[in-house]
Amino acid sequence: MKRTYLFTLVLLFSLLFSFGQDRYQFGVIPQINNGFAFGDEYELNSKLEVRQLLKDGPENIAAGKGFHFERTDIETVLNRKLSPLDGIAVGYLFRVEEGQIIHRFIQQYSFIRKKGGFRLAHRFRTDQTLDDGDFSFRFRYRFGIEKPLAGLEIDPKEFYLKFNNEYLPTYSERSFDIEIRALASLGYNLSDKMKFETGLDYRAEDIVSKDTEHQCWLNIGWFHSF
């Protein structure tokens, strides 16, 4: 089992780094995330996320541009709960990226299971993106684990760890590619309604094509529930 895991990891990294001079980006992603409950059944989640690009390569375009937010996302998702831990959702994302406006429509099914002190989250999402006449479709699957650092439940004023791993195959009219993301975060549960998280988010885009881009973002998140 251990050998299989190591082999998979080596294979994955070999694939990632075997495409010559890959592109890369480093930066910061602050995020504000609010959840509003409407009775037991519905919940509206709104997210404001910006990206500050600090360094990129091989051209290092960010260096000449000074401090600016390269991307701003405003996302609203309406979740219809099937239980407190399962739900189906639809949403819309409005993105401003270097002067261009992008629209994205989101459909989602998610469920969470508890295993000992862990909570395991599965999220299946499809989205359709319109970008100045371009159209693309993605099927996304994200697996997440949450682990309290004290006890079996995350209580107020306690730290926790969160790991996410997401796969994003992207289909456009004549092309197919895949993106893989991995996030490791340290969270602090200030109260039952408010959490802070910070961690590293690694993304490998365009893995199938020979133009893979490696991204590493410092994520800083504020999560609030009403």
Partner: protein, 219 residues
């Protein structure tokens, strides 16, 4: 004309700065939308009734440690302190003969009960019949997610029961704690319940479990 571009990818050749004014404008718009959402939302409070946190073995009462040591020999134990409206308790969690055991003590180390995770199908037919009748009459749809055997009695009787030395049912009292995901008539969503069943299959009490929010896990 439809052009091809992968979602989320940055075309570095296309990068043109909006400038500080443009960026500020969109940030302001985003914040405004959030504030508007805040002002129109309904507020729902959730009250957590229990809180537990890990403690070192040395922080557990000597009497509790002694019981665990002599009953569950050479077993790795995790200790917790639980705070509830009724006060504090100490819990030892461990695995014994492939099953999860949770041993609860008061703060002086006096044994309160032992909970053992079991398969629902392993319960005897009388209890299962009582439980199935209750659940099918109470819920439109349901699923039993967890079953725990709860043992109470004096320490020596419980120790003997765990070590399979005796089967003195008059000294050890059995109850069953179920976690059920169910939907009652009129409910809009499924809800989790903790149901305590006595040794004759009758319901002692039923509590609604309030789950912690999951926004940070799914969005």
């Amino acid at each position: 004309m439809i052009k091809l571009k992968f979602a989320g990818r940055i075309d570095q050749k296309k990068i043109v700065s909006l400038g500080p004014k443009g960026t500020k404008c969109y940030l302001f718009l985003g914040l405004l939308l959030l504030i508007l959402s805040l002002s129109t939302s309904r507020l729902y409070a959730q009250k957590k009734m229990e809180r537990e946190y890990g403690i070192k073995a040395s922080a557990a009462p000597e009497r509790a440690r002694a019981f665990v040591h002599k009953t569950y020999m050479r077993t790795k134990v995790k200790w917790y302190r639980e705070e509830s409206l009724n006060g504090f308790t100490i819990e030892a969690k461990l695995k014994w003969e492939g099953k999860k055991h949770s041993i609860e003590f008061d703060t002086l180390g006096k044994l309160q009960d032992i909970e053992i995770t079991v398969q629902y199908q392993m319960l005897n037919d009388v209890i299962k019949r009582g439980v199935d009748n209750y659940l099918s009459n109470t819920f439109q749809t349901y699923k039993i997610n967890k079953t725990q055997l709860q043992l109470t009695g004096n320490e020596s009787a419980l120790q003997a029961a765990i070590l399979n030395k005796t089967n003195n049912s008059s000294m050890v009292h059995e109850k069953y704690e179920l976690v059920v995901e169910g939907k009652r008539e009129g409910d809009k969503i499924k809800t989790f319940y903790e149901i305590l069943i006595d040794e004759h299959g009758k319901v002692v009490h039923q509590l609604k479990i309030v789950e912690r929010r999951v926004n940070h896990l799914i969005f």
